[in-house]
Every structure is written in structure tokens, then in C-alpha cells.
Symmetry: none
Subunit: 229 residues, 2 copies
DNA sequence: AAACTTCTTGATGTTTTCTTGACAGCTTAC
DNA sequence: GTAAGCTGTCAAGAAAACATCAAGAAGTTT
């Protein structure tokens, strides 16, 4: 898994010792970490860093923890796990009602923290449906890898689907021969425009109602191809 | 608010006293309640009652609590809040890793319980999928692990059932070879598509009326397999 | 321990996909 | 007008992917 895909965790805590502690625990797992030492910095970091989960200490110097939660909840659904020394029930209730997802009282077990982080991540990673490209009876559902023309299912070979997916994700824009060849076949095929033509032809036969006068996959002579918007 | 739209809570606990206690607390709020006094009844009720949230006691007479969580998670994403007297960290970690959303140690405060229920409800306003897949005479009941074809029960091996369950929970979507291999056999088998083919073949022999022309498990050449919707 | 089920693995034949070459149509340049 | 270059189509052989059978290994139950 590449570094970009690691779950992102934002730690908002003013105590250096705790930040170090959390850093030690969490960096042994596969997480991408970011830290903020007060409420305002935390709110800014939440917007900039776009964490998948926030670990929030309630006792911040500049802002009340509840305030931070409420400000976050004005625009973000990111899971918030509160870490606090206050174990009075009212504090927990207030934080949870303000929009926190979980509340852990210090000192807490490392295993429990990790388990609760995983539980929160599990919930929030529930996949977001990708948009479906639709145009003139052609429909491409990228999540289901399903292509339909006039409602009828079309079966594409892996290569054909790769090309079409590339075009859908860049719908309306011209894709040069080199771009398509590089993406689908790899750099080694840069000087082989023939394979691309054959595949475009096959693709058109499958998704165009009149392959000799294509409406979806338009050729831009001398440059490449373009998928009509 | 009409009675049909109230959040539905299922309580799985063997102790009458606790059920009474929870009933008292929760019926003062706007909840629709249902109770089960052992694991099997709880699993059945989860399928029939379709709760928005489950309060689960770990110490059940017939099934281990972790087992209940895992069985539920085979087909349902419903939030599970564990209520337990065991406050050892290992118990919490095991429950959370098995798929629980929260863990409360008895005795707990009423306010905290309500707050945690609200927190769980807040983020789980999503649709619950039907636990029973039906299509062209093939029926898969994930809650009972029961597969029937034209009403007749089919006996599957554990591996075959795992594959089918994976496909049912992603019905309509293409599952790549790697996805299936990773989920069913583990990462070590990623480069062994042969075992998958053998098992798909066996599965088809059992659930397809004409295995050579499959209607349910469609192969997407070069990619994987897909369960017809 | 025997009987049974399930899993794994190898061998073999089939199907699908990929690559490549031949050729024809079209456009542009001269 | 014609040559050159780009483009589209068809078809055949090669390569890869797939399905199925069957036998032995491993694990379970009786």
C-alpha cells in the first residue's frame, strides 16, 4: 500500500508527552500522523490535512474541547475520538452529544485505543459510490465495472475496459495516443499506435450504434481520441 | 414522529434484571425496543426485527459474545454496543476487533449509555441491505447460512460458502480474483488463481442449473467473477 | 482406526483475448 | 492527380486465461 493510502490520523493535544506517546504507539502501525497543539491549530489542520480520524484531548489551552467538536461538526463528519482525564459522566455525555464518536478516559490501554481507532475507521471507510458516466444511452458504472448501451449490458475485454475507463475519467478531454498507450499498455508500447487503433475499433463496434460514424469515441486526427460529454 | 420511524433497538441479554433496567431507561426515550435472551434468539431477532442498533451482553448462556458479533458481521453493518462486566482490556479489544462499535463496562451511567446510543445512531443512518439474496431460484440466507436452489437446500463446503457470501454481499459488482483470494484464503494465496477456479467450478456445479452456461456466477475474463443481480 | 468430507494440486482440453499483418479508405501535401 | 501518411477494419495465429476431471493429502467425525 502506498503512503498516500494510509489512514490519516490527526492528534490534537497540548501536552508534548502525550503527543510523543501517541506518536510512538501509532507510528508502529500503518498510519499517517499529524499533530496540533491547540484548538485553533487543530481546526485548521482538520481542514488542511483531511484526517480519517481525529484524536482530541478535551483540555486544550485556547478552546474548550466541546467547542472544538462543535466547530468540526459544522462541516465535517470525520470520526472524533476524545481522550480525556475527566472521567465524570457529564463530560462524556457532553462530548458525545456534541458530536464525538467515542470517549476514552486516560489512562487507557494501548490495545483498546488501537481497537477503537480500527472500529472507527471500519465505519468511515464504507465505500462512497463512484459516479456513473452517462451519455446518449452509453452508461459506464465504474464501481461495478458494468457498461451498458441502451440499457443492454456490453461485455468488454480487460484492455477495452481499461481504455474506456481512462476515457470516462477524462471525459470531454482529448487523450493523446501516447497517453492512452502509456496508461493501458505501458511505456514499451509508445511506438505502437496500431494496437490502439485495433482496440478502438473493437470498442466502437461494441458501444457505438453506428461504428462508422462514432458519437461517443471521437477521433481527433493527428492527436488522439476524445469521449463526448 | 410515527412509531415506524422510531430508532429500533435490540437488546440481547440473558439477565432479566438488566433487560428490565434497559427497558425502563430506553422506553422513556423515543425508541422501539425488542429483546432476546440468548445468542441464537438474538441473531434471529437481528434478521427479523432489523434493529438500528444492538445492545449486546457478552456473557450469554448459549453462544460466546464474540461469536455473536462475528456472525452478525457476516451480513450486517448494524452498530453493536457491547455491555459487559468484564473490564479487562483484552475483552474490549477482542470485541471491538470482531466488529463491535463500542464497549461499555457495567455498571455504566444511564446518560453515557444514551449518549453513546445517540452517537451510534447519528452515524448509521444508512440503509441496511436485505440479509437474503434471491435471484432466479437461487436463495442465500446469510443469517442462517442457508442456500437453496429452486427451494431445495444445497450443501456447500465452508470455502464455497465463504466465496458465495462474499459475492452476495457485493452482488452485481465484479469481484477481482485478488479480492476473492485475499478475503477467502488470505494474502498468501494471491498468486494462486487455480484454487479459486476449482472452487468456482464446484460452486457452479451445485448452484447452476447448467454449469457450462452459468447464470448466477458470471466470469469476467481477465478480471474476476460477478454475481448477477 | 476407518469412513467421510474437504482442500490442494496436477493434467488436460476449451474459450477468450491479444498481437500482428494485410489491406482499404480518407486526408493532406505537392 | 498522385503519393504519403494517418486511420479503420478484418482475420488468423499465438498467448493467456479459464473450466473440468481426478487423485492424493489433510483434517474431522464416528
Amino acid at each position: 500500500m502506498s503512503a498516500e493510502n494510509l489512514p490519516r490520523i490527526l492528534i490534537i493535544d497540548d501536552e508534548l508527552a502525550i503527543r510523543r506517546f501517541l506518536h510512538t504507539i501509532l507510528s508502529s502501525e500503518d498510519f499517517s500522523l499529524h499533530e496540533a497543539e491547540n484548538g485553533h491549530a487543530g481546526l485548521a489542520a482538520a481542514a488542511a490535512f483531511k484526517p480519517d480520524i481525529i484524536l482530541l484531548d478535551l483540555g486544550l489551552p485556547d478552546l474548550d474541547g466541546i467547542e472544538v467538536i462543535m466547530r468540526l461538526r459544522e462541516w465535517s463528519q470525520v470520526p472524533i475520538i476524545v481522550l480525556s482525564v475527566r472521567e465524570h459522566e457529564n463530560d462524556k455525555v457532553a462530548a458525545l452529544n456534541a458530536g464525538a464518536d467515542d470517549y476514552l478516559t486516560k489512562p487507557f490501554g494501548v490495545g483498546e485505543l488501537l481497537a477503537r481507532i480500527r472500529a472507527a475507521l471500519r465505519r468511515s471507510l464504507q465505500e462512497v459510490p463512484e459516479p456513473i458516466y452517462t451519455c446518449n444511452g452509453l452508461q459506464v458504472d465504474l464501481t461495478r465495472r458494468l457498461v451498458t448501451i441502451q440499457g443492454e449490458e456490453v461485455s468488454l475485454t480487460p484492455t477495452e475496459y481499461d481504455i474506456l475507463r481512462l476515457m470516462v475519467t477524462h471525459a470531454g478531454k482529448v487523450l493523446t495516443h501516447s497517453q492512452i498507450l502509456k496508461q493501458v499498455w505501458g511505456i514499451a508500447y509508445l511506438e505502437q499506435p496500431h494496437v490502439l487503433r485495433v482496440n478502438i475499433s473493437n470498442l466502437r463496434r461494441k458501444i457505438e450504434s453506428d461504428p462508422s460514424r462514432p458519437r461517443h469515441i471521437v477521433t481527433e486526427p493527428g492527436v488522439g481520441y476524445r469521449l463526448t460529454l
